[in-house]
Symmetry: C2
Subunit: 645 residues, 2 copies
Amino acid sequence: MADLVAPLRAALDGPYADARASARRLLTETGTLTDPTLSLDEQRSRTRDAVLALASSDVPAAGFAKAHGGTGDIGASLVGFEMLVYADVSLMVKAGVQWGLFGGAIENLGTARHHNEHLADVISGDLLGCFAMTETGHGSDVQSIETTATYDVASGEIVVHSPSPSARKDYIGGAAHDATMAAVFAQLVTGGPGEEPTSRGVHCVLVPIRDADGRDLPGVTTSDCGVKGGLNGVDNGRIVFDQVRVPRSNLLDQYATVAEDGTYTSPIDNPNRRFFTMLGTLIRGRVSIAGASGAASRQALAIAVRYALKRRQFAAPGAAADEDGGEILLMDYRTHQRRLLPALARSYALQTAQNELVTTLARIQEAGADADPREQRELEALAAGLKAYASWHASATIQQCREACGGAGYLAANRLTTLKADTDVFTTFEGDNTVLMQLVGKELLTGYADEVRGLDPVGMVSFAVSNAAEVVLERTAVAPLVARLRDAARREGDEPDLLDRGTQLALLTDREEHLLETLARRMQAARKASGADAFAAVNSAQDHLVHLGRAHVERVVLEAFAAAVAEVEDDTVRTVLDAVCDLYAVSVVEDDKAWFLEHRRLSVGRAKNATVVVNELCERLRPYAADLVDAFGIPEHLLDVEMLG
Amino acid sequence: MADLVAPLRAALDGPYADARASARRLLTETGTLTDPTLSLDEQRSRTRDAVLALASSDVPAAGFAKAHGGTGDIGASLVGFEMLVYADVSLMVKAGVQWGLFGGAIENLGTARHHNEHLADVISGDLLGCFAMTETGHGSDVQSIETTATYDVASGEIVVHSPSPSARKDYIGGAAHDATMAAVFAQLVTGGPGEEPTSRGVHCVLVPIRDADGRDLPGVTTSDCGVKGGLNGVDNGRIVFDQVRVPRSNLLDQYATVAEDGTYTSPIDNPNRRFFTMLGTLIRGRVSIAGASGAASRQALAIAVRYALKRRQFAAPGAAADEDGGEILLMDYRTHQRRLLPALARSYALQTAQNELVTTLARIQEAGADADPREQRELEALAAGLKAYASWHASATIQQCREACGGAGYLAANRLTTLKADTDVFTTFEGDNTVLMQLVGKELLTGYADEVRGLDPVGMVSFAVSNAAEVVLERTAVAPLVARLRDAARREGDEPDLLDRGTQLALLTDREEHLLETLARRMQAARKASGADAFAAVNSAQDHLVHLGRAHVERVVLEAFAAAVAEVEDDTVRTVLDAVCDLYAVSVVEDDKAWFLEHRRLSVGRAKNATVVVNELCERLRPYAADLVDAFGIPEHLLDVEMLG
């Protein structure tokens, strides 16, 4: 067999081959696996040390613009953070808090004076900060947080305050111990001369919380969230503010300013739009979590597949006792193949989609104020959807990998339980997945409503769906390819051919369009209701909305993967990747088979065939299992766990 | 609303109301939640202390026959162990190792001299033991373990030895630290005068492993499995034997003896049957894990439902800001109801099935040698199936509960992550679930092949299925009820009525019969193949076999629940339980909807209706959510977690 690993890796790395190579070098030089025997304090100080060590690498600076002391390579920054997961998920999260969230808030929501004053220290790690958004009472619904930041004209100060127990900042990474400054999200209250002070919605204010000796500053009370289900290298904590005063200049004022006399001005009049614009600049958090979820899934799969290629159990019926006692490799069992290989295919698909997402993000963020607002909004929806899809994938995949390694999988030294525990919160932080999937669905509905008034309903839907696709793909030369493939969908007699790429694309596009069209009709009906009935109407469509979100993400992921496969020139490599892409597509169809049957998109015969095809693809890919996980390019010492020794 | 909690609890407790009441009292007096801040050593010593404290309760003795110093109340024993989970899963597992596995091996595989010599000390906790079955190389396939126990005629001793690295005993609870004696499973090698010493298959030998000071005895090398994904209160370890000699009398010789001259005799000639008979006596382990999985699921649901009844997020569209700011309770969202309520219904169903299983087990084990071997074998299959089904249910349910509580759910103080981590291994220990589900399917096939030769295929299948049902239910007066309900299955026009109990039973029975019938045909074809083809034929049916196992378990569980509901006399209570049972049945159908469509058991319209019905049942049960979890009767102080305070 020709060497497949290098070209497969090239296909997976896509445009980030250099960034990944450099992250691999860094991990090979400095990365060590989390040590599960450490105490809580030891884990925290080990992670803090690793963050400070990372400060001297290229990774943190890559995330900041050149004008702000960075190197302005967003792709390298995201890929570099993501791959930290292979060593220690806590390190990735703590680094993400410091440079992505805290530093990102200062860079994106602040202006020159904040950049000049803080960013150099943020990049170097001399100033450790935290991102104080979530409160005990409000997480998913950030717009309803209760902390107030009231401008006091007399002193020229902003007074930050927690008015109730549920206003307490909660689960804040770094707040328990290490952070000396917090980027605090609060309801800004101010008014100009003769104006009643009014709430202006959520804004972000920099608030020092600890002195150099780690003591809470006056009015600030921090506490510790204690042991968590994982990520115990991150010191999550709580912050309560009792009338804490900071200078007016501590308001991060990119999108709104408060004059000395209290006058509030913002370039964005609509408070709702202002809020979502500010939040939108923080999109990298979700993109990072999607990436980290992918990395964790790949590492778990690499470990479980290698174990399945080593471990034998049960003799074949009537087998001669050869040197292995006639025992069968786990990887040769159908149930085992079905546990691991569809998840492996999905991991491949997700990595190509993540490459697209990062590329689009970099392009839009580099465009800055010139970016198309609609494109920005749709990018946000896609980031939300991929974050939810990838983190659920990680949770399910790592769990399968753990079970597929039996008792050995349960030992912490074999990494799988640690990976599961550390990534578990990905499904709910940076936005609860169920809420995020609804957000994706709502964005599709908005596109439908905003853009195409006057078209007939069916035309409207097609327009909205194909339009959303274009946003991600239009500048990557993928759109024509996908359209061409889809239009050439092959049928056998009256039946779609599940192994035809065009058919796969058409099936997923059609499902999304149908879900959107029927949801739009339900919502139209719901709009006529009011009060409790309005809630009931929207509420009863929640599962429909989540299904639409998922269908959208699955279609976009398939398009990204199909495009990546089509770009591979070597026939042998493309044939293998083609089968991986088939396995992704057909297992997506199989998972939602009832829908395709109920909506007469598949006949009974073809639906049964989907299961047969998944089984056949597993068998076909079985000989490539080792190569497929080697292609992930995870540094070998980070896969060197006890049970593989 | 009349008090529903007490009668709902009575229905759930079933025949074990007294045993559960007494276990609740014990937990109320002595049970304290696991402390997630403890170090590994502290967790272990805390759990050891709790096991020793438990020794002075009634629980351990209940599991042993009166003749052996116990009180002979198997039901009370199993229920008592199960409920320890509410406080500390490690405690339940360590107690299960000491009294269920180690003590159970001595009682069930040993004879009077072993009972007299050890059982009093086992019950009192003066002798702490371990159960050394699994090896590094063999877990699911116990028959292939490598450790040898060779009888040496010259000395009259048995020599226990680990011939290879993969023969190392592994993951053995108690072996790292506390156990001073091991029940060692090994290939017994012996021969009488003039006979070549031969392997007689797996037997169990008592081997002292540590002295009173905790030092390994000569020839024994123990080591520590270290930190695990959970259950860190249990000191799992490894044991390597280097020609360790024990007296011949240490062989547990209920099913086979070795005479002084090396002659081997057993009342069971067939070595395979002997092996499975010996293993069959240890069935209580799997029954305990099924019970513990149920308890853990209930506790997670109780916590998540109470949180959902307290936590509000997002205002209703156009809602007036009342005292809650118009925000909606999580429990009122459809997505949230769908996350928690079908799992709640399944937990109810499982508890009624567990009651049946325990009752049947107690009856058969009390019958001892008089038990019908076929009934015993089918009980084993059901225990295997319920263990797999309940532990997968626990894994999925606790995960959902964690996610449904967001960031708060991720804090260890809120119990959900600890429950998830501690029960995670249930899916693979006491037998890998995927292997166990195949065992269930195989047992159904055996019933089909053994018992009904000569009947036409369809008749054979119906016979086998209804027969398997009878085993569990025949003496509970349930069988006629179930048969009557199924026969009266209601149809609307040509369509099954999903809310009719008879229809639900008929749908699940029919699915099982069809899966069995088609599998039997495939196996018949496979039997004609040989060598690699034979493996391929069997292997390609693995997913079919697992599906059959699951279908069987789901049918049996529904029958148990239906019978428990039918016994409730109060109309109000029965109406609520009826809806819970409907939700279980229809969500089982919904989960496997594609199968029912593919096999034309449901029309497209009725299949869509299954989803509508699940949603409606969730809404109907929403007002009873608090009562339904209160009815679990979990001591309040064990639900008193931070986020509910």
